[in-house]
């Protein structure tokens, strides 16, 4: 074991960690605003993956431009999912929203498998690698991480600088009070679900630029998102980014010291531990 491997692994882990973070932000934003754990998160990520793939492959558009289209579509998809599956169960016990979002999961996977099969697809696109002595950073990964940072910055600018963003935070914080102030809560909830979906699909699109994809691949990221969200504190988007980085680091560094197959054991072990000893996550969460 030498230092180069350690550094290289840490860098790789962190880069992918940013992308994990974006995916998890989508999940945590939705939970934070409406206390719904979106079990359709994985398939929505997968839609994002295939969005970029299809646009890149059949329109020939640059995948990073395609990402913008995917994000916009994501917003619409999210709003649709909200009204179809979530709105009616928003105040029901958690089991209802868990199952209703899971039903969306089944629909997407069912239709997706029929159309796309479960084959793997690749976005055949690459950027020059960055070679700095011991560490080689692949271009697409670096770009994905940078975009992830950009997305996070945009999300924060949106949530903290725009009126709609503040409405989302207000509704998350106290829905009834928000209504009393004239904030149309239904529309804001739909918007929040839309943005959560947008983040999930954007993350999916980013993943498509670096890794092969298939319709079931979103499931992996959904589970990772759960871990991250718990690490960062349910309902805390910035915590999700940091949680993503931590998960990325674990995935990067643990294999240096032991067999890679121990990574999920550690991840989920940590997940349970955090839930037990500090359910508010490492960085706090919204007040309940």
């Amino acid at each position: 074991m030498n230092l180069d491997v350690l550094i290289a692994s840490a860098v790789d882990g962190l880069l992918i960690g940013f992308v994990y973070g974006v995916a998890a932000m989508g999940l945590t934003l939705i939970f934070g605003v409406m206390d719904v754990i979106n079990l359709a998160h994985g398939p929505l990520i997968a839609i994002g993956m295939f969005g970029v793939y299809e646009i890149f492959t059949y329109v020939g558009m640059n995948p990073y431009l395609a990402l913008i289209i995917v994000a916009v579509v994501g917003l619409a998809v999210g709003v649709l999912v909200y009204f179809v599956a979530v709105h009616r169960v928003i105040d029901a016990p958690p089991l209802s929203s868990l199952l209703s979002t899971f039903s969306v999961n089944m629909m997407i996977i069912g239709v997706g498998t029929a159309i796309l099969t479960t084959s793997a697809y690749n976005v055949d696109f690459s950027l020059p690698s960055l070679d700095t002595g011991p560490i080689t950073v692949t271009g697409t990964r670096l770009a994905a991480a940078l975009i992830a940072v950009g997305v996070t910055a945009l999300l924060y600018a949106f949530l903290y600088r725009t009126r709609s963003g503040k409405y989302i935070r207000a509704v998350a914080n106290n829905r009834q009070a928000a209504e009393l102030m004239g904030i149309p809560s239904t529309r804001i909830l739909a918007l929040a679900f839309g943005i959560g979906t947008m983040l999930a699909m954007t993350a999916g699109g980013l993943i498509a630029t670096i890794l092969p994809i298939n319709i079931l691949a979103g499931g992996t990221y959904e589970l990772k998102s759960f871990v991250i969200v718990v690490l960062g504190g349910l309902g805390n988007p910035l915590g999700a980014l940091v949680g993503g980085l931590i998960l990325g680091l674990i995935e990067g560094l643990v294999p240096v010291f032991m067999k890679t197959t121990w990574v999920p054991v550690l991840e989920f072990g940590l997940f349970i531990l955090i839930l037990l000893v500090m359910p508010q996550g490492l960085f706090g969460r919204k007040e309940s």
Binding site: K166, Y167, R169, A172, A177, A178, E179, G182, I183
Partner: protein, 237 residues
Amino acid sequence: MALLEVKDLTSGYGELQILWGMNLEVEQGKLTALVGSNGAGKTTLLRAIVGQLFPWQGTVTFDGRDVSKLRPYTKAELGLIMVPEGRQLFTDMTVQENLEMGATPKHSRIHMDRNLAKVFDLFPRLRERAKQTAGTMSGGEQQMLAVARGIMSEPKILIIDELSLGLAPVLTLDLFQALRRLQREEGTTILLVEQNVRMALKVSDYAYVVSEGKVDFHGPSSEVENNPAVREAYLGI
């Protein structure tokens, strides 16, 4: 004609009826107090007025328009604003942001800066704490912020539920003074629910006394204050 008129209103939760035919009128520019024992239905009435609860029967008329079936956010847009019991602030947001959220109705949004200056003038302490997270402030400051947030909406009528609840007397004084100023200087109509009966009757122009979901009696505040029946009903002595 009264700015807000509640007519034969009945409502409740689920199968449970709380309001049994409420009648109430709030005159333009007046400070009207609503007093009554715990469980008399005051908060339920306010919730029905702002639309958090649908009326079963009867009507709520505001500014000459039947608003009985509108959602709270639509009513807020019309200028019907409530400062709810227990403050209900956006505790994770800063004081400034809470105030900005108050300026949601379109007519108030364009005057946001002016109104900000106004509420900071009214509650100088909020100016000092503008960047502080609302949840970290003391109860009194939070109540100030709740009222200030309501004012930011440029309400035609400001409904306040339990203004002094759990507050130290000094702060209560500040808040009542602010309300009086608002009423006198801006001509804002105010409907106030207050457990501090004596105080409420002192500062208000007109008062309604409710019990068991109905209005027991009403009249100019001074009359109500001097009515021995009120003392009887409220202290049992």
